[in-house]
């Protein structure tokens, strides 16, 4: 540290114009070495950061592929230790709860995003944006406890509904924030054109501005869906899990992440194999969603600048 400061002082002492540059001394050599070492370290950090993704994806693929078959997705689990069976209840449950959670959470999120961007004055917008960000940072397990106290305790039983409520709370900040941003990308001239036709503000938003931003908002919803599809913690004490295919919202329901957790923690090889295969399905779905939506969002972001 002091060395670098010394070099700066040295640079400041360099003679003025007309005098040939000083021959690089010991000082300069040390600065060059420091520069090389630090640049190499930053590069190494980048490599280290990229390695886990490759490793995880590789293992999920290699371990999951052999156990992946149609039976896995269509059959219910068999008693522990027996071969065969599948995770059909988890597949069905994930579809139902993610779908329901999205249905509950998305309208609230989109409307809140509209409020922040189109209606709130400076202070109101800042406050709601702040709250949305804070909500995004709440641990999902705490959101699970919230849904437990809000739905499971009064209903007297674990239920798919409670799981969907927890997932809805998780998706709200994701979609609200993206709605806010995407509405911000719609040019003001579009709103002006509508006002000048004598169209009231709310209709301008619903019929003109929202359709213009809908691509980005849908993308954001898909991103949120990908995120909640992988959530385990908020489902443990809400949906609980179920060995049989269930579509009843008032009863316990299984989910892929829950099933992976149970199987990974168990002692049976057949469970482990199915956990890997189920992970492959989950990772494939989640990554495909995220990949597509991020690419789409990036294009929009690029178009803006």
């Amino acid at each position: 540290m002091s060395g670098a400061d010394g070099t700066l002082a040295g640079a400041a002492r360099l003679p003025g114009a007309g005098i040939p540059p000083r021959v690089p001394g010991r000082n300069m050599a040390r600065r060059r070495t420091t520069d090389r070492v630090m640049r190499a370290l930053l590069g190494i950090a980048a490599v280290i950061a990229a390695v886990p993704l490759v490793l995880v994806l590789l293992y999920v693929l290699v371990q999951g592929l052999p156990a992946l078959n149609l039976a896995l997705l269509t059959q219910a689990p068999v008693p522990a230790g027996f071969p065969g069976g599948g995770v059909a209840p988890a597949v069905v449950g994930t579809l139902i709860m993610v779908g329901l959670g999205t249905l509950i959470g998305t309208p609230i999120a989109v409307l809140a995003g509209i409020y922040v961007r189109e209606y709130a004055g400076g202070r109101g917008a800042t406050l709601i944006r702040f709250l949305v960000d804070v909500l995004a940072g709440v641990p999902t397990i705490a959101i699970g406890l919230f849904a437990y106290g809000l739905v499971v305790v009064p209903m007297g039983s674990f239920s798919a509904l409670a799981g969907a409520v927890a997932l809805a709370v998780i998706i709200i900040p994701i979609v609200a924030r993206i709605t806010d941003e995407m509405l911000g990308l719609v040019p003001g001239s579009v709103r002006e054109a509508a006002y000048a036709l004598g169209i009231p503000p709310w209709k301008t938003i619903v019929r003109v501005v929202l359709p213009a931003a809908s691509g980005g908002i849908v993308t954001g919803i898909l991103l949120g869906v990908a995120r909640i599809a992988g959530e385990t913690a908020p489902l443990i004490f809400t949906a609980l899990g179920n060995d049989r295919v269930s579509t009843a919202l008032g009863e316990p329901m299984d989910a892929l992440p829950l099933r992976i957790w149970v199987y990974a923690s168990g002692p049976y090889d057949s469970w482990h194999a199915q956990a890997w295969a189920a992970s492959l399905v989950l990772v494939f779905l989640v990554l495909a969603f995220s990949l597509l939506t991020r690419l789409a969002l990036r294009r929009r972001g690029a178009a803006r600048t």
Binding site: A193, Y195, A196, L197, G198, I199, K203
Partner: protein, 308 residues
Amino acid sequence: MPLMTEPTTDARVDPAPSPVPAPAPRTHAVGPVPGARAIEVARRSDEPVQDAGVGVEIEHLDAYYGNRRVLRDITLTVHPNSVTAIIGPSGCGKSTLIRCLNRMHEVTPGARVAGEVRLDGDDIYAPGVDPVVVRQRIGMVFQRPNPFPTMSIYDNVVAGLKLAGIRDRSLLDEVAERSLRRAALWDEVRDKLSAPGGALSGGQQQRLCIARAIAVEPEVVLMDEPASALDPMSTLKIEELIAALRASYTIVIVTHNMQQAARVSDRTAFLTVGDDRSGFLVEEGPTAQIFTNPRRQLTEDYISGRFG
């Protein structure tokens, strides 16, 4: 009937700028409020409405952005079924002035006006007047073409009607064709009415915006430098269009192009910027007189290119 208990969106303030301006969030300013009786009645009358423009009288109009006054004491009469050009150096408040005529000025946060603007004798800033109604009666065409990005050509033209709740298909079809014909665009788009509005060329888009503005049958059409973003050929088309529209509408056009003002307008108003950086009206009169024999030295300096 206006519900008198509802809040009003009277955007006027005392002529003296108050030290603490009431911040007016844009959405408040354009909120839905029952229209003033006079403005409403003109819309609702069952007697056959003539397809003709009406006059606009601007009286002692001041416009502000926050504490800054951008227009000072404008008094100007816009004659029915005529084209009035507003010219002046940049920054003199030309655009602000016409945005005050359909209450678009107040859409900008912190913007407000003082004074009166009378449409066919009724003050559009009177308490209880719904800006939405004002804007249906006074259409506007903007500097850059701004067709609705998600709508087809057809839907763009009838947007003002559809969004106001008119669903009568035959009426919509008729209005679409008539408006597009009047905007001299029909022949170019009649075969692709369902194509997106954004697919047209810049000049066509601007004519689409004109068609959209006249589809709601306004009495006055405001044009804010409508050709400034267009090529010469498109500009010529727009100018021809303005000449043709004069028969049916009162037109106010802002332009930075003096030749254009001379070509298209019947009357010309010249604005300039004062030392206090707010715009004021120097003089107004028949276009020929303003350009050949202005009464004021400022005007003569400007049109002869010595200033501005």
